[in-house]
Amino acid sequence: VTGVVAGPGRGRLVSGTAFRGVLALGGIAVSVLLVAIFLSLLIAARPGIAANGLRFFAGSAWDPVTNEFQALPFVVGTLVTSVVALVISTILSLALAVLMGEYFRRGVFSAVMRTAVELLAGIPSVVYGFIGLFFLVPIVRGLQSAVGALPFGVSIFTAAVLLAFMILPYSASLGREVISLVPADLKEAALSLGATSAETVRKVILPYARSGIMGGVLLSLGRALGETMAITMVIGNSNTPTLNVLAPGSTMASLIANEFSEATSEVYLASLIEIAALLFVVSTLINLFGKLVIQRMAPRV
């Protein structure tokens, strides 16, 4: 390829090969690193894997006193917070993406909105945690009292709402990008056939852009699964398994953040690393599943 652009010069060809080699090396290094991380997690988790057995995946006890370590409450907690956060953030980010990508593409308002969304991504996790603790917790406590749940304020739902705002920038920015790339002739065709602008958005723009939008959602899901600090501050850190989103809970990442530094027994520490390996597997599976969904949804042109 380089040869065509650069002409028949031999030196250029060699540098082209070298360039491609460097790129390939980078790609290989990343893949090797990924496998190496997983392997080292598995090796470090060996005492835990041996002691916990298969019950690790099915049971819900987490007791450092009796050395019983089972992952279910944390897997459930991670999935529930991420899914609830994803639902909230997808609705919001879709609205924002359409607004920024279709209705306000230029001008001061659009610039302000775009910068604001991008700045959301730059706020440190711990700051989100504090905002959650002092602003969101009292609101959720009111909600919990109203529906008769225990009024802790901290809960899986609190964490999910906070998380929704933290992951919003990823899906909103990518969504805006793909929506603004929808060919103008498609939109004009729809409008000329008598479609209202709302119908154009719903029937032309969103279907055309959906694989890109889903890509953004997937990116934000990856962030949601691994988010630690802010969640630890508002989720309540209860290790009792629950599907009640208004009750306090725990995620795999928050458990590790909480207990790693003072895990004194060998099995305890290894079990926390086993949780990390499991989080790795869960994130990978969800990512692969997401890719599959995107492929299915891609517009057949």
């Binding site: 006890a61 009024p151 901290v154 501050m233 306090p248 790693f260 003072e262 895990a263 004194t264």
Partner: protein, 335 residues
């Protein structure tokens, strides 16, 4: 690597490293800063948690470890060599709560255990009102707050509850982190304090230092002798006056000392008894021993200003004997 080699090549002075407990970290930071000023020996201390401190000492990557909980008998063989515990300061853990008017409440050990077991669920429970006849306790559900992270504070708190309640001992037990029967968890003292402040009619436990520095209301607890003691530096120090075994590995909770606060714990520095390992020089070993000796004597005067309780003379005498037992090639480093 080159930078490290150059740095050690230029300065001949010994530089010591330690890692571990976070609870005494402010005290150690002050100590090692003073030590460097007075003796020109730099001590790096990383407050990575007691578990991390023990692991690093096990891996022999530090000169000393620091831990809020002593290494239990069953864990001692996991260390590659004989281990010594040197107590440095004592701290207390206090029950704090969020009630209208912030009354000063009295607790007993079994009442605290039953609150944390979920058996006492209301503030106007007969057992609480009997202890606090003058306080106006509301008819409100108690929200239990505990530490979510593993900590020496939780180890001390659960150790005390295990001693005063058989049910706690069998159902929950003692550890840096336990399977809590109920409640919500906050990370660190600040996490627990933040939740207690946020949640009306809640109860939690924090280190005395943290409660004092943040002017929090906290209750007094009845000790073994039957008196209600409010935690203070004096009552914490009094708790260390009880009987301490020669190896200083003792839990001070539920002390028999009449003036002692019952939820008090020691914190320790950990070193190997035989200092000649992994090719360590005698200079280095001697520097460790000298520093430990200084900490349990001159270093003690920095404790109170930072709200830690210094060792009682009895505890200090035991600590002296432990430091004197440190050897290099089998012969004691200090005489």
């Amino acid at each position: 690597m080159i930078v490290v080699a150059a740095a050690t090549g230029f300065s001949q002075a010994v530089e010591l490293t330690g890692a571990g407990a976070t609870f005494p970290a402010p005290f150690y930071t002050k100590l090692f800063d003073e030590y460097n000023k007075q003796f020109g020996i730099k001590v790096n201390y990383q407050s990575i948690g007691s578990g991390g401190g023990q692991a690093q000492l096990k891996g022999k990557t530090v000169d000393f470890g620091a831990s809020d909980a002593f290494v239990v008998d069953s864990a001692l063989p996991t260390f590659p060599a004989a281990l010594l515990h040197i107590p440095t300061v004592a701290g207390s853990i206090v029950p704090t709560y969020n009630l209208p008017g912030n009354p000063e409440l009295k607790f007993t050990g079994d009442v605290l255990a039953d609150i944390y077991l979920g058996k006492i669920t209301k503030w106007n429970d007969a057992r609480l009102t009997a202890l606090n006849p003058s306080a106006k306790l509301p008819n409100a559900a108690i929200t239990v707050v505990h530490r979510s992270d593993g900590s020496g504070t939780t180890a001390g708190w659960t150790d005390y509850l295990s001693k005063v309640s058989d049910e706690w001992k069998t159902k929950v037990g003692t550890n840096t982190s336990v399977s809590w029967p109920l409640g919500v968890g906050g990370k660190g003292n600040e996490g627990v304090a933040g939740l207690v402040r946020q949640l009306p009619s809640s109860i939690g436990y924090v280190e005395l230092i943290y409660a004092l520095q943040n002017s929090m209301t906290y209750g007094s607890v009845r000790n073994k002798a039957g008196s209600f003691i409010k935690a203070s530096l004096a009552s914490t120090a009094a708790a260390t006056a009880g009987s301490i075994p020669d190896d200083t590995r003792v839990s001070l909770t539920d002390t028999a000392a009449t003036e002692g606060y019952p939820i008090t714990t020691l914190t320790w520095l950990l070193v190997y008894k035989e200092q000649n390992y992994d090719g360590r020089s005698q200079d280095r070993a001697a520097a460790v021993a000298k520093m430990l000796w200084w900490i349990i004597h001159d270093g003690q005067k920095y404790a109170e200003a930072l709200s830690y309780a210094p060792l009682s003379p009895a505890a200090q005498a035991k600590a002296e004997a432990v430091v004197k037992s440190i050897t290099y090639n089998g012969s004691p480093l200090l005489k």
